[in-house]
């Protein structure tokens, strides 16, 4: 079995190495990916279309908004699936009792975390809100925010973190994020455009169509941030406790 696997892996490796010779060299400005009309269109006209300086955010939330919306839905469904797979069902209780250790939250660790967590959360908000003008966005800010809750759970225990962010609220927040995203898309559809065509929001908001796209992107990123925050923490909480939501790490 292992020999067959080795042969397969080596064959694929040879194929890939052979194919790698045809790839452009490192940093070649004339590489197909860099010289394609799509990427040069994004670079040249993002500023005109949306007035957003960060092209990555513009492509993520505007040009490819449909894709990003369903990526967010994937994250949400994965979180739902993890919780529903782990919750309920038969349990093996003899074995995991052996690993339960009585412990007190450490004084130094908890106090350090007490100081660090607000900073992490403010940084997460900064990353989220400045996703247009600097590197950042909903996914990154959401992950940083979720990490702050995971840090609380690690330094105290899961109960403390769940008291601040219960699992039901996790899913409410996660669903709210998707509702924000899809709501902005639907709103622009009702205003006469296509789904997620933010420029039509300018009809109800006192801004130019470009600035409507700019601000709608912020709204969309906030929705993504909600979902990612909640799901990251829900993933950690249910995976670390085997779905029981107590006595975790």
């Amino acid at each position: 079995m292992k020999r067959v696997a080795l042969i397969v892996v080596l064959l694929i490796g040879l194929l890939l190495a052979w194919a790698a010779r045809d790839f452009p060299s490192w940093g070649d400005p004339h590489a197909p990916a860099s010289s394609s009309p799509v990427s040069s269109h994004f670079i040249s006209s993002t500023g005109v279309d949306t007035e957003v300086p960060n092209m990555v955010t513009a492509v993520l939330a505007d040009y490819r908004g449909f894709d990003t919306m369903f990526e967010t839905v994937v994250v949400f469904i994965a979180g739902l699936a993890v919780v529903s797979i782990l919750r309920g069902g038969p349990r093996r209780r003899t074995r995991d009792r052996e690993f339960v250790v009585d412990f007190e939250p450490d004084l130094i660790v908890t106090n350090t975390v007490r100081l660090i967590v607000p900073v992490i959360q403010i940084f997460a908000f900064y990353v989220l809100a400045h996703g247009h003008v600097s590197p950042g966005g909903g996914f990154q800010g959401g992950v940083a925010m979720g990490a702050s809750f995971i840090l609380i759970a690690l330094s105290w225990d899961l109960k403390t973190a769940l008291a601040r962010f219960p699992l039901n609220r996790c899913f409410t927040v996660a669903a709210l994020g998707i509702v924000i995203y899809a709501g902005i898309g639907l709103l622009s559809m009702f205003l006469g455009g296509e789904f997620l065509d933010y420029a039509h929001l300018a009809r109800v908001f006192p801004v130019s169509p470009e600035m409507a796209r700019y601000h709608a992107m912020l709204g969309v990123e906030i929705g993504v941030g909600f979902t990612v925050t909640a799901i990251m923490f829900a993933l950690y909480a249910s995976l670390s406790t085997d779905g029981r939501m107590r006595d975790g790490l």
């Binding site: 940093g27 070649d28 860099s34 670079i43 006209s45 500023g47 492509v59 209780r93």
Partner: protein, 235 residues
Amino acid sequence: MFEEGSIISQLLVERLNYFIYVVLLLIGLWAMIAKNNLIKKLIGMSIFQTAIILFYVSIGVKEGATIPIYLPEHDPHGSHASAEHNDTTASGPQVLEASKVSGYTNPLPHVLMLTAIVVGVATLGLALSICLRIYRGYGTVEEDDLLLKLEQEDSQNSGGFKKRRPRRRPSSAKAASGATRAASSEKSKSEKTGQGNRRSRSKSPAKKSQSSPASEGKKPARRRPRSKKPKEGDS
């Protein structure tokens, strides 16, 4: 060996980045195919994914270009470029000409990988939860043990797929069947009582299983397949 134009020089010097991704990808693939432990397979999957993410990001590299965020002079909002404030507000945002476009890297790979990373985390969490559930049901995440146990279970309910669906059927059928199974069914009975004790120590449905004989007949039988495992672990 490393002279210009030879295959090895092409691979290891000019295309070293691709070579690294290929190696990473092969490590991941090997782990996914050949490892027995499901968690190790997942680690392999993550390595595989990392290789692809690195590959995409390296495709976005452009020599002499900066990150895909407009420099102050191209910033659509003139206020960010303090020096030529009046200039930019007068003209407004303009389409960049081709020479300026080459000054920014391609944003597309970054966008694709940004979402791929987060979705990768979510799917990894899903896979881990399935592994946890498998461990809960079968007491192992080793693939060969798992296949063995699945085969045992299949041979026990040799009937059609009708019998296979509910978990409690095979064990009750087994307890009822011939003399070879008598000893094991006895064992399982003693286990059931032990399980009941353990149950009553934990809080919820112990009362129910003691009170009504019908539910007692059903419940422990449902617990059968996994009540087998702790015993094996103990012995």
